[in-house]
């Protein structure tokens, strides 16, 4: 390790806002001197997003010699272009929605609601800068991780080239994440568009915005920009948003977006874009009918493809394909037994928590003869629209496809006292159990705070707690999370057979 990893404070950083300068100095310090490589590392990690950072840190903490290679910025999409920036803006959007609804709560809103887009974006930058302190390059170096900035390329089954320097490894982890997938739309490149990366660089709130793609990020950002005051449209090629989620949840998101004024175009594809009078003219095709709309900005590229390009995976003997990414077994091992993969580059579910969990598995399996399976994990996820949509475990459709008899205990949020008091009644808790038992197979929650609520279901599933036991867990009252106990109560009521009721009555009347 060099005594100090910095050559000089880069001039470019000084020209940025203090927040951006701080974040960049943490995640991509210009002038960083790569360390002199060891003869061989226990673990070489390519990609310093959530998966790579977790793996590098966990391995280093256990005494392993770790090399971490990052091409661009530490933290990956999640910190720089994904979860954190979007959630910061979502919070602002929620506040605006609440202010518009203030009269319903007895608070008189200002006559004119003034929204300062620059201030909202500045807050977002301040937040990402602050979070970047934890995973800063200096911090990683202090933890004993050899951090290399540069482009990694395999040049053998146990070696990687980083900008001309060869690094050897006993075990390697590919955690390069994913990249935006751009739709093939005539005229779109010429007209210009925003992606999940560039949208957070906007300086001025667009007067109008078309979001192409109704996946989680598309729905989240469409709602945010509508709440900011942009005329917002969203087009999606399927009949419902969030194709992974159950129909009722997806429908609720659609209804919520419509309430916020988003113009919804389901079953629609954008066929053509061209510029006219400074506006992007967009043609949308639905059931054979073409409609035209004019917008200032288009946001797309919100589908993801695994980032497998340029790694020279063939040289390492690692099998992959462009759509599914790196092929791994249930232990996350690739076709080269020295090399593992984790996160978006190899997994169907491209979420930060999934990436981190898979990275922990790799550390155990690669370095400590572990046999932990990816399929054994219980991973919840959440789409942060308002209301949020959170899910864990099996969907009903999946269970039925596997011929598992499944029954759902449904509690509408309009039956939850605290949700009524909060004026947050849109949504539900649905807990799926194996028919005839209290074993939880999965759950979907749609609620304003569904992401917080789903965690107790995950806890129950991981620890093998069924609905019968959950019914005995006294919840704080009134809370929205008590909806989960209400579902458990509903389960217990179904176990009361007529015979049991008869016996109980006789006992009481004795």
């Amino acid at each position: 390790m060099p005594s100090t990893p910095f050559a000089a404070i880069p001039a470019v950083v000084q020209a940025l806002s203090p927040e951006d300068a701080e974040r960049l100095s943490n995640v991509s310090p210009t002038g960083w001197r790569n360390p002199k490589p060891l003869s061989r590392y226990h673990l070489l990690v390519i990609g310093a997003g959530p998966a790579g950072l977790v793996a590098a840190r966990a391995a280093a903490a256990l005494g392993a010699q770790v090399a971490l290679i990052e091409r661009h910025q530490l933290g990956g999409d999640c910190l720089n272009d994904g979860c954190i920036p979007s959630k910061s803006l979502i919070r602002t959007g929620r506040l605006l929605a609440d202010m518009r609804n203030a009269a319903n709560f007895g608070a008189v809103p200002p006559a004119e609601l003034v929204f300062d887009f620059r201030a909202a974006m500045l807050r977002m930058r301040r937040i990402t800068a602050r979070i970047s302190r934890t995973d800063s390059a200096m911090n990683l170096a202090r933890e004993g991780i050899h951090l290399f900035f540069g482009t990694a390329r395999f040049n053998g089954v146990d070696t990687v080239d980083v900008d001309g320097v060869t690094i050897r490894f006993k075990k390697a982890l590919i955690a390069t994440g994913s990249r935006s997938m751009l739709p093939d739309i005539s005229g779109l490149p010429e007209a210009g568009f925003l992606t999940n990366e560039t949208v957070f660089d906007l300086q001025v709130l667009p007067k109008s915005l078309l979001v192409i793609g109704g996946g989680p990020l598309g729905c989240e950002l469409a709602q945010v920009f509508a709440r900011f005051g942009s005329r917002t449209l969203i087009s999606h090629s399927e009949p419902l948003f969030l194709p992974q989620e159950e129909r009722d949840a997806a429908q609720m998101v659609s209804d919520a977006l419509a309430r916020d004024g988003v113009e919804i175009h389901l079953n629609s594809t954008v066929t053509k874009v061209h510029m006219e009078g400074g506006k992007k003219v967009v043609e949308l095709l639905n059931d054979g009918n073409t409609a035209t709309t004019r917008v200032d900005e288009i946001l797309t590229g919100i589908g993801r493809l695994p980032a497998v390009q340029g790694l020279n995976l063939k040289a390492a003997g690692v099998a992959y394909d462009a759509e599914a990414g790196i092929h791994v077994d249930d232990f996350l091992r690739t076709s080269n037994p020295r090399i593992y993969a984790a996160g978006d580059v190899c997994l169907e579910h491209q979420f930060t928590n999934t990436a981190e969990a898979s990275a922990r598995i790799v550390v155990r399996n690669a370095l400590f003869l572990g046999r932990q399976r990816m399929s054994a994990l219980t991973i919840p996820w959440c789409t942060y629209t308002d209301p949020e949509v959170a899910h864990v475990g099996l969907y009903v459709k999946e269970a039925r496809r596997r011929r598992i008899p499944v029954k759902t205990f449904t509690i509408p949020m309009h039956d939850v006292d605290r949700a009524i008091a909060d004026g947050e009644e849109d949504g539900f808790v649905k807990i799926h159990v194996r028919e005839g038992s209290d074993k939880i197979l999965g759950a979907t929650i749609v609620a304003r705070h569904a992401g917080e609520m789903i965690n107790s279901i995950s806890l129950a599933m991981v620890t093998g707690v069924g609905l019968r036991t959950l019914a005995n867990v006294v919840h704080a009252y009134p809370t929205q999370g008590a909806a989960i106990r209400q579902a458990a109560d509903a389960y217990v009521r179904t176990r009361l057979t007529p015979l049991m009721v008869t016996l109980a009555r006789r006992w009481l009347q004795r």
């Binding site: 009949p239 029954k407 759902t408 309009h414």
Partner: protein, 446 residues
């Protein structure tokens, strides 16, 4: 009330109800039948979708018309010969119709466009070639054929045409989306991508399609559909979930599902009839909760289903800005819900839950509108929407005119409640019996 008592009540029918209720039902049924006398183009048998000026015909409404004629003959509302001629005109039109599938034809592969011009019988409103609406049309044809079993040349021709038109339907072609039946197809864009999944009104479609000897649906299609079912415990009641009430009613207008069970219902120790009873109870439970604070909702005012609703500006309801959705498939408990009640869905609940349906009907029958039963016959009414029409007085909004589907359901379901006529007739249809068996149904009258 358990399943058995519900069945017993339904089977007992009118014998269990008061004379005043009997009069009310008689009035509602007879006046609903008048729709078909007034709105049918006698030359081709096509029936207007609604009584509003310029309405095209709906093939589903034609299916209902063909099914109500046996009721009308039995009740003495029209002569048998008159009914036969009406049915024959319809069948002759469809058998000779343009099946080229072009944008200006009547149908293709034995299916028909959802809406047809009443005069020309050609596609209207750029509508879709509809699988479910064709099924409702075809089951009407077969019901009429089952009833008009006489040896006269006219009735013989009627049966031959009905069978030919059934056999002409290429059900198998409609298996599109992972083997499940597609909702529709358009010449402009092919099959529609509407994700027609989850329990819906398609039981009769699958029964007909699977019973076909010419172009049958595969068994995989029924499996592909039922795998999307959701069995839920909601408000403490276990049921096969579907939001709008009509989903739980349409197929039951023809098929008596009491005691019939497919694999899913065997697993759940239930049947589709009992399930509809539970769905009715859930509608009532929702209305009692009235989470969105609509005017009038309560234990005797429920019935969220497909139907017309107000298309007016949003207004404040319970502190919230409430939009109104016009024609929509409203449902419980997730909506859409804008305070609109569909009267025919309550009438159709008579067979499933007569006690609560009659209570609700009495109230609806006497609502302050310009005529007795107007709120039942109208496609929807809404006491919340602040529109004061001259017709409805202070009772809020009420849908203009009448819709054919509603009148068809009123005639058929009151008849099933009173005599079970339609259920008895369809038991005689061999392809329905075969289709149900092939879908895995057993028990009951099978």
């Amino acid at each position: 009330m358990n399943a058995q008592s519900a069945h017993a009540l339904a089977a007992a029918g009118l014998a269990k109800i008061a004379p005043a209720d009997e009069q009310m039902l008689d009035f509602l049924q007879r006046s609903a039948f008048d729709y078909f006398l007034k709105q049918t183009q006698e030359r081709n048998g096509l029936v207007a979708d609604t009584s509003r000026a310029g309405s095209p015909a709906s093939i589903a409404v034609v299916g209902f018309a063909l099914s109500v004629y046996p009721v009308a003959v039995e009740r003495g509302w029209i002569a048998r010969e008159d009914a036969v001629q009406r049915v024959l005109a319809t069948l002759r039109f469809f058998s000779a119709s343009d099946q080229s599938g072009t944008v200006a034809s009547t149908g293709s592969r034995g299916f028909y466009f959802h809406f047809l011009d009443v005069e020309t019988g050609l596609r209207a409103w750029q509508s879709e070639l509809s699988s479910i609406d064709t099924a409702l049309l075809i089951v009407g044809m077969l019901t009429a054929a089952a009833y008009f079993g006489g040896a006269t040349p006219a009735e013989t021709e009627l049966r031959q045409l009905a069978n030919m038109l059934y056999e002409r339907v290429d059900w198998n072609w409609a298996e599109h989306d992972d083997d499940a039946v597609a909702l529709g197809w358009k010449p402009e864009c092919g099959f529609l991508n509407y994700g027609w999944q989850g329990y819906n009104e398609a039981l009769v479609l699958y029964a007909l399609g699977m019973g076909s000897t010419t172009h049958p649906l595969t068994e995989a299609s029924f499996e592909a559909w039922t795998v999307t079912y959701q069995w839920e415990n909601l408000y403490g009641i276990d049921f096969l979930y579907a939001g709008p009430l009509f989903v739980h009613e349409f197929s039951h207008a023809w098929i008596d599902f009491r005691g019939l069970r497919d694999r899913f219902m065997r697993e759940k120790d239930c049947d589709y009839f009992e399930n509809s009873r539970r769905a009715t109870q859930i509608q009532r439970q929702y209305a009692i909760r009235n989470p969105r604070g609509f005017t009038g909702y309560g234990q005797d005012c429920w019935g969220l289903s497909a139907g017309d609703g107000p298309s007016v500006e949003p207004q404040k309801v319970a502190g919230r800005q409430q939009a109104f959705y016009g024609y929509a498939a409203r449902g419980v408990p997730w909506g859409p819900d804008d305070g609109t009640i569909t009267g025919s869905s309550v009438v159709a609940s008579l067979v499933f839950a007569p006690d609560i349906a009659l209570s609700a009907l009495r109230l609806m029958f006497d609502r302050a509108t310009s005529g007795k039963g107007r709120s039942v016959h109208a496609s929807g009414f809404n006491a919340t929407a602040g529109v004061d029409t001259t017709e409805s007085g202070n009772a809020g909004w009420i849908s203009e005119g009448e819709f054919g589907l509603d009148q068809g359901m009123i005639v058929l379901m009151i008849e099933n409640f009173r005599s079970g006529l339609l259920w008895r007739l369809t038991r005689r249809i061999p392809c329905l019996r075969a289709g149900l068996k092939r879908a895995g149904f057993s028990g009951g009258w099978l």
